[in-house]
Symmetry: C2
Subunit: 327 residues, 2 copies
DNA sequence: CTCCCTTATGCTCAGTATGAGCATAAATGG
DNA sequence: CCATTTATGCTCATACTGAGCATAAGGGAG
């Protein structure tokens, strides 16, 4: 029996108008702020991005190309995040639908230069996600978020959907109990579904219920904020089992700086002594012999990343504890 | 200053012949074997796959559609793996290049039905990756792999490349020391680069050196074996921090069956008592009150997955130890 | 020059989790 | 009834974690 196979498997003629978008979430950390490179274009903020073109050898090449054209930033570590093509990405174009796929990437760079172009600027990512920064304790926005989400769960079309929604809320926001700092995307998607976030509200036919005001937190074009949420989630997860933080650090740094970087990314504070113990016993860094007194208090030793750990330990990373307060 | 933005950002006209392929790595476990659904087509084995079509609402819908047409299998849990479009995916088509992207998915299904179609069959994934199964101890294929890879590292064009290669080998295969069962993709890619695997050998202009024979392990069409490697890697990683194994289990099962499933997926044996302790103390399962004596020895309690853990623990999963021998 | 403030470092201690084994229970097939 | 096989219970030493106490060593204010 012949299976239903496409005529000539790859390239069976373009039966739909297709375009492939490439977008980059470019992350750097300066001081206490996790930064993302944003460009302003047509009244909106967006991620550096552009369509895949014929002379791009690979997807990643195309991405680097657009980023350099738009921001003059050269990328270091780059990894693919996700390909969006599912929701709200169909646009009617004359009589037949044009489909727009979009491949999102995460890139890490060392220093946040002043971003050559006036239209490209480094922004703290908590500007877009104010509810994700728990370093100063529970963010105030949550006072607006919580009732809004609860109302959304309560007004579900039926009981089944309602309890499903309640479960998702509790999972993502941990109202009451635990909170998982990695579930950035789930949290954003709940806010999106609940209509608490402006993106495409009208197109989706979602109405703001009287009691539900839009949240603070800056919007981005298209689904770029969703991409950013995904990038944050991925990075927060990844620093725990791969030494990627070091991609964001200068060649030599203090343990305090390293800790503040990790805290900036994960949005929580860590117990200082335990953090150092972890880094040292995993032998993630080595001495440079130098020290710096630019940290305010007692001068700190300067260390550098010890690349050899990659070969020694199976999953070297900065494990985060359940909580931990600055002391 | 005007930034170089594409004319009308999405859908800036199709400037290249594009086709989007959708491929599925569909996994099930029966008894001791991790199975993948493969279809035979044109002398090659391949994953269920086909191009994205105009009437597919979403990428995932398109995927489910092709899978059902080709294998009559209905998918449960589905997640996106990666979008390939980078290497060897350019095909000359007349005078302008036609680009073929391909979005790979991982799907988990409960039972391995006899696969309605004669051309679609469940195959143990170790058939394609015999070097990944360490349950019976070190796989014999490694005796062929190790010298082949070492030779490849030794014949590098220069010393820098050579030591880089040696480092990658040691990282992926852990010759000498540790081995990380998750690095399935890295291992496959090394074998690919070293020309020890037949895929596209000729196109790549890689020659088999005299001493290096091709390895046992069945080839697949295109880059499907790479996708499978990625799927295995992802699944092996994911069972540790999310309760996805249960997507592969029947509604009720014994701890022994659960353990054998985990071992099948991860390719290593676990210490039985510690495994049960882990599952129980994490409260991943609950009693059904029933028991079964189909396991050969003393009858075993039947348990079921306790969905509530999802709400209780931040990252419930089956953590694997460093090694562990069957006893 | 001291005292105070700030960040860096050292070290301890109890509670938990992990890796390995010993020992017993309860079926099944000669 | 015994040997074999898988299921379960429990123990023990060690490693890892979460919290905190205590000290060190700069800079700045008075």
């Amino acid at each position: 029996m012949a299976l239903p196979f496409p005529a000539a498997h790859p390239a069976s003629a373009t039966d739909t108008a297709l375009s492939i978008g490439l977008s980059a979430v470019i992350v750097a950390v300066t001081g206490d702020d996790p930064k993302v490179l944003a460009v302003r274009h047509g009244g909106h903020e967006q991620l550096p991005s552009g369509p895949l073109e014929r002379d791009h050898r690979t997807l990643e090449q195309g991405l680097r190309n657009w980023v350099e054209r738009q921001t003059h930033q050269v990328l270091g570590h780059v990894e693919q995040l996700y390909t969006f093509g599912d929701r709200d990405r169909r646009e009617t174009d004359g009589e037949h639908a044009a489909r727009a796929l979009s491949v999102a990437y995460l890139a890490l760079v060392r220093e946040a230069r002043p971003a050559g172009d006036a239209d490209a600027a480094w922004e703290s990512w908590y500007r877009y996600f104010p509810w994700e920064d728990w370093r100063e304790g529970r963010p105030a926005v949550l006072d607006a978020i919580e009732p809004g989400l609860r109302a959304w769960a309560a007004t579900a079309p039926n009981a089944g959907v309602g309890s499903m929604r309640a479960e998702r809320l509790s999972l993502a926001f941990g109202f009451g109990q635990s909170r998982d700092e990695e579930r950035v995307l789930e949290r954003y998607e709940l806010l999106y579904e609940a209509g608490l976030v402006p993106e495409g509200l009208r197109e989706r036919g979602v109405e703001l219920a009287p009691g539900r005001a839009l949240l603070p937190g800056v919007e981005m074009a298209g689904d770029h904020r969703r991409m950013l949420a995904l990038a944050i989630a991925r990075l927060r997860a990844k620093i725990k089992y791969r030494p990627v933080v070091f991609e964001l650090m200068p060649p030599t740094f203090t343990l305090g700086q390293l800790q503040r970087t990790v805290e900036a990314l994960s949005g929580v504070n860590l117990h200082k002594q335990n953090f150092r113990r972890l880094i040292e016993q995993q032998r993630l860094v080595e001495e440079t012999g130098e020290a710096t007194s630019e940290t305010g208090g007692r001068p700190a030793r300067l260390v550098r990343f010890r690349r050899e750990v990659l070969l020694e330990r199976p999953a070297p990373g900065v494990r985060l504890p359940g909580a931990g307060g600055r002391r």
